[in-house]
């Protein structure tokens, strides 16, 4: 396969932003920063701490499973800077939520589920990485999404 890569141009998978998550990686994860002075974590990686103004920061991989803290469904297509492969005709409403990652932070992201009946506060979700859009040259832009854990549908 690698040998014929030069014949047919191969599409690449590129992360939507450098340093947002580990990529490529066998088990990709969001990257956060943790302040060495006060222990507060942030996403995305920040060079200084918003809690204590400290500048001694360590980068760490954030947990890949958490609980949904709150959510909504975006029912209409946003204007730019929104940048997807969708058109007004193909746009599908999408879920948005904050996922509480244990010991870390609450991270905002798109949900793979857009049915309000299937979303509720407290449900477990995994952080997954998938193609967000395909560029004209065929490159796949990878972003992160929150996906309900199978069978975690019932709120306690």
């Amino acid at each position: 396969m690698n040998d014929i890569a030069g014949v047919v141009p191969m599409s690449k998978q590129i992360p939507i932003a450098e340093g947002l998550f580990t990529w490529p990686a066998e088990k990709p994860a969001l990257l956060g920063s943790r302040c060495k002075s006060c222990g507060i974590a942030a996403f995305p990686v920040a060079e200084s701490c918003m809690a204590c103004s400290g500048q001694d920061i360590a980068v760490e991989a954030l947990p890949t499973r958490g609980t949904l803290w709150t959510w909504t469904v975006q029912q209409f297509m946003p204007k730019p800077p929104y940048h997807s492969n969708e058109t007004a005709e193909t746009f599908r409403p999408y879920g948005v939520g904050y996922l509480e990652l244990p010991g870390g932070v609450r991270v905002e992201g798109r949900l793979t589920e857009n049915d309000p009946e299937k979303l509720h506060i407290g449900m477990e979700m995994d952080v997954i990485f998938d193609t967000w859009r395909v560029e004209e040259n065929g490159d796949e832009v990878i972003s992160f999404f929150f996906q309900p854990v199978a069978n975690s549908g019932q709120e306690a």
Binding site: I16, A17, L20, G32, I40, A42, F43, P44, M50, A51, W69, T70, W71, T72, V73, Q74, Q75, F76, P78, K79, P80, P81, Y82, H83, S84, Y94, V96, G97, Y98, E100, G104, V105, R106, V107, E108, G109, R110, P116, I121, W132, S143
Partner: protein, 380 residues
């Protein structure tokens, strides 16, 4: 030195194709000057702002170039509140005796476009569809409803009340009542908020003339005194708009901080307030801001709103001019509209939307991205 408001002017909110935003600001400024019985050349300083309709100091081209310090203010939805606070401090410090505050705007239709880079965020945040203020408000009220037992009916009643009040206010944009059923069944925008639960970008202008309290009676038979004007920004840990992440441990937001400081400065408490204008860019915001400003406990809104407490004749009238929901949100003018409305009410000049019982203390509150709040307390 205490500070008084001795002149108020407004250009009707909504859509006015024949006038630019700046012209709407000038219209309001001329009315405010006339109301105070002063000329533009008497004004010693001015603060003003507009988000989409040019620099406020271009008002000089309309009103006359007099050489005064005119400072442009840009602070999102809290632009008017910030201008007012700055003018308040300029008089309180003794630096000036008489000044003007103006705000105007003219926005395109549809939701506001926000630029991630301007707010210190990565471009990716906007590309994947997270750069939407409406999502934040929806997620905040979603969590709030879950935690404090607020129902979707209550969201609809807030909008219904706003449109009733708007129908009584000749300067409002939306002047037709809309029933709670119509509000609830309108198109879902960001669950749980429907189309009629959101305000829209709009146009309008407001201006105020401020002076030293000891000279107020020279200009105005019924001056209204600015007992406090406070602006706060977010502290670490508060849940705010345009936040890719937030801390696990939450602290009070800037509204709570500004409210507490304003009450302390004025030497009064929430129970003393006769009417308030609370930022209602959507229905949920008004509900949450009731508690954040100290007017009730979290969760009490469900009962208060169901029993009509927040209506004009109720025990705590809120957004008596129809608020952002019925007036739309011309960003530069919106916060000053609240102050205009309270002055009108405290003078007893609000006509059909007048709060009964000769109100004495009025409260205003605005909230803006990415986490700022401005509060004023006015006293007759």
């Amino acid at each position: 030195m205490d500070v008084a408001i001795v002149g108020i002017g407004i250009h009707p909110f909504g859509r006015t194709p024949a006038r630019s935003g700046l012209q709407q600001g000038a219209y309001a400024a001329r009315l405010a000057l006339k109301d105070a019985g002063v000329e533009w050349r008497d004004i010693q300083f001015a603060y003003g702002g507009s988000a989409s309709a040019g620099n406020a100091d271009a008002l000089g081209n309309e009103l006359g170039l007099t050489g005064i310090p005119f400072i442009n203010v840009a602070n999102g939805c809290a632009t008017g509140g910030s201008s007012l606070m700055a003018a308040y401090n300029a008089i309180k410090s003794g630096e000036h005796d008489l000044g003007l505050v103006a705000g105007f705007d003219k926005h395109d239709r549809g939701a506001f476009n926000a630029d991630p880079l301007a707010l210190g965020l990565g471009q990716w945040y906007g590309e994947v569809g997270l750069m939407m203020t409406t999502q934040f408000f929806a997620m905040k009220i979603q969590k709030y409803m879950h935690d404090y037992g607020i129902s979707a009916d209550t969201l609809a009643r807030v909008a219904e009340k706003a449109f009733i009040n708007g129908s009584l206010n000749p300067n409002a944009w939306r002047r037709e009542p809309v029933s709670a059923e119509q509000v609830a069944s309108s198109m879902m925008v960001n669950d749980p908020l429907t189309k009629f639960m959101f305000c829209s970008p709009a146009e309008g202008g407001v201006a105020l003339v401020l002076c030293r309290a000891d000279k107020a009676k020279n200009y105005c038979a019924s001056p209204v005194y600015l007992k406090s004007a406070v602006l706060k920004s977010r502290r670490f840990g508060s849940f705010e708009v345009f936040a890719p992440s937030q801390a696990l441990q939450q602290v009070d937001g800037p509204t709570v901080d500004a409210s507490k400081a304003a009450f302390e400065m004025a030497g009064v408490g929430p129970g003393d307030i006769d009417l308030s204008q609370l930022q209602d860019t959507e229905s949920g915001a008004e509900i949450m801001h009731m508690a954040e400003n100290g007017f009730c406990e979290h969760g009490e809104q469900e009962h208060l709103i169901a029993t009509g407490a927040t209506r004009i004749g109720g025990s705590m009238p809120i957004n008596t001019d129809g608020g952002c929901l019925a007036n739309g949100e011309p960003i530069g003018a919106s916060g000053l509209r609240q102050v205009y409305e309270n002055v009108l009410q405290l003078r007893g000049d609000a006509g059909e939307h007048q709060v009964p019982g000769e109100p004495r203390l009025g409260y205003t509150h605005v909230y803006g991205a990415p986490g700022i709040s401005a509060v004023t307390i006015l006293q007759r």
